[in-house]
Amino acid sequence: MQTDPNPNKSKDSPTNSDSTESTQSPSPFPDDVLGQVLSFLNSDKDRSSVSLVCKDWYNAERWTRTKLFIGNCYSVSPQIVATRFPKITSVTLKGKPRFSDFNLVPQNWGADVHYWLVMFAKVYPFLEELRLKRMKVSDESLELLATAFPGFRALSLMSCDGFSTDGLKAIATHCRNLTELDIQDTDMSDIDDFNGGWLSCFPENFGSLEVLNFASLDSEVNFDALERLVSRCKSLRVLKVNKSIMLDQLQRLLLQAPQLMELGTGSFQQELLPGQFGDLESAFSNCKNLQTLSGLWEVTSIYLPVLYAACASLTFLNLSYAALRSVEFGSLLAHCPNLRRLWVLDTVEDKGLEAVGSSCPLLEELRVFPADPYDQHLHSGVTESGFVAVSRGCSKLHYVLYFCRQMTNAAVATIVQYCPNFTHFRLCIMNPGRPDYLTNEPMDEAFGAVVKTCSKLQRLSVSGLLTDLTFEYIGKYAKNLETLSVAFAGSSDWGMQCVLEGCPKLRKLEIRDCPFGNAALLSGLEKYETMRSLWMSSCNVTITACQQLAREMPRLNVEGQDGMPHLLFSLFDRQDLLLPSLMLWSGTRAVKMAGEKQSELDHSFLLNENMRND
């Protein structure tokens, strides 16, 4: 982190003309001291606040910021970023709205990282880290990344698409100082990769990797190349392989890297000879530092015991791809006393969750995923009693994601009494609009209990049969709420209005299939500038409202289905056309269409909201 000794004298500064003596109350600190102090600031929220104090502080902050976080890649143009922050070495960019994970956003929506990389290549040749989420990343982009930044060290791609193993080949070939290659949750193009090629592209003298995660890649990899790579990388602490890696291969990898802290196994679907079983068991028992364990595809009760010896120090166990039943799950849990985070499939059922309640007193986070999400007539999975059992035994629980088919108001009330410290409460009752199955009433009181009791609540996902009352409760009590997800709920515009008026810290609001219309949308005009984004799908919003929104709030970007910019709305004759989907955020949809004029406005406040890391 370099501090420019004379920030005010810099020729690059856009506020050159307004330098040192312009402020009414000049900073009592000399500028280089200020710079030094600010370089210790890591929180984006703090940095945003600092930048608003006065011009001096704004300048000192921008010269000392090295980590850039942009929560919505269309909220600001690369040019503005480049002008404001000259010393960036680490970039985090997020693109598509979250509902693109569920196929609700058009394929060609955008969020292509390439034009960002082109700018970075010019302005930040010393870029070291790039973390992308829900962005389109082409092989061409990966090649640019690999060749234009000699000091590049860390690449993280979460839920990104558009690239193939060709792009990874470029990274492996050219990034001499790579310490991190982390690919998560990717639907990759299938590409013929007969040589298992990309892993072999790491040079023979390359050994700097600390993180290697290719668990979500489809293709076979060259195991010999992988084994040699792992043996060379003495600092490797995270290794997550894909399903092509078999048990005997995993055992060999573990022998090379007993220092691993995070392990993602390959597939457990292999018949081992007795000798091999013992080898695998002892390989696992050598891993004394394991904190995270994931993968475990096709693991069965026969093979689970090989893991036991490695579980003593486990804090995060991800079994969300392993269809375990309650018995073997309970046996495994008995060996994991230090678990803080647990992800499971609902095949473990309520009985399995009871075991969680009794074996995991330190548990802070639980996610229960549905093994069969689309079978609406299934009676298995977990119910309200599993959730209650966990809450009873795990008083430190503060993050829950729970998929179930039935729930009651009483159960939720009980749960939050046991665990009043929820920060993230995401309950998904899978049948849309399902009431309390015992009383047949709406689930309003359940979520009312949550927001009344859990004052630290930051994130809430609601489900089940809900009236406006739920949203009245949310608006009245959820004063720390930042993210709200709503589906198939509410009775009228009033519900959405309650939330918009009542939740001061609301940043992300996503709504689908609710009876909220124009009045609700327009009630939030001032609110939207303080939010990262609003996404609405299959509600009762028409183009009329969007046009009004666009007219009255020029700094807001409003988009309908297919990503049309708001400029085109005026061409529509049908004012009453119901919009299938709407996305709204503050900032500019920069570089989206050729010739579109980019806004030169640098609304610091607006930008700061979108550059806050959450």
């Binding site: 569920f102 196929n103 394929q107 949750d185 639907d187 193009s189 679907q269 595809w297 096709e298 069969d372």
Partner: protein, 183 residues
């Protein structure tokens, strides 16, 4: 005969029509989008697609993007369901029943066991299989969809072959199944 012509029509239109999902229902237009899934295959389509219930009053058609399970996780789970070694659960539907059931084929060793279990589960009478006449004379006849998507009469092939190729079961009304038996 009225019955013969009824079955003839049925034979032409429904019984031999290769469809995914319950005969008598329309192909749902709310298919789970597989755009993002480059590994999409016929098997994947079969397991993803769910059609509306024939007789339920408020049909719960599958809704796009709901429940909110990520594409990536969905794909992995479907692959798992396809290759589930620890159980061979298949869906069983019966004409006129409001909801389906699931049974584990691995639990049974031979046909009579399976038929008895089905009779118990659905409170119907299936009768005895004969090679020549199928389940002639019974109120209901068990059929299954095989890997090729064809609807077959239960009992024609050896048991082991049956359990590896059976993807779902349907207990048809005897009148409809008659057509199959006579082929």
């Amino acid at each position: 005969m009225e019955r013969a012509s009824a079955y003839e029509n049925d034979l032409n239109l429904k019984a031999t029509e290769l469809r995914l999902g319950l005969p008598g229902t329309d192909e749902s237009s709310e298919k789970q989008s597989l755009r993002n899934n480059k590994r999409s295959s016929a098997e994947m389509d079969n397991s993803c697609e769910k059609n509306e219930q024939e007789s339920s009053p408020a049909p719960k058609a599958q809704v796009v993007g709901w429940p909110p399970v990520r594409s990536y996780r969905k794909n992995v789970l479907h692959q798992r369901n396809e290759s589930d070694l620890s159980g061979m659960f298949v869906k069983v539907s019966m004409d006129g029943a409001p909801y389906l059931r699931k049974i584990d084929l691995k639990v049974y060793k031979k046909y009579p066991d399976l038929l008895k279990a089905l009779e118990n589960m659905f409170k119907c009478s299936i009768g005895v299989y004969s090679e020549r006449e199928g389940y002639n004379g019974s109120e209901f006849a068990p059929t299954y969809e095989d890997k090729d998507g064809d609807w077959m009469l239960v009992g024609d092939v050896p048991w082991d072959m049956f359990i590896t190729s059976c993807k779902r079961l349907r207990i048809m009304k005897g009148s409809e199944a008659k057509g199959l038996a006579c082929l």
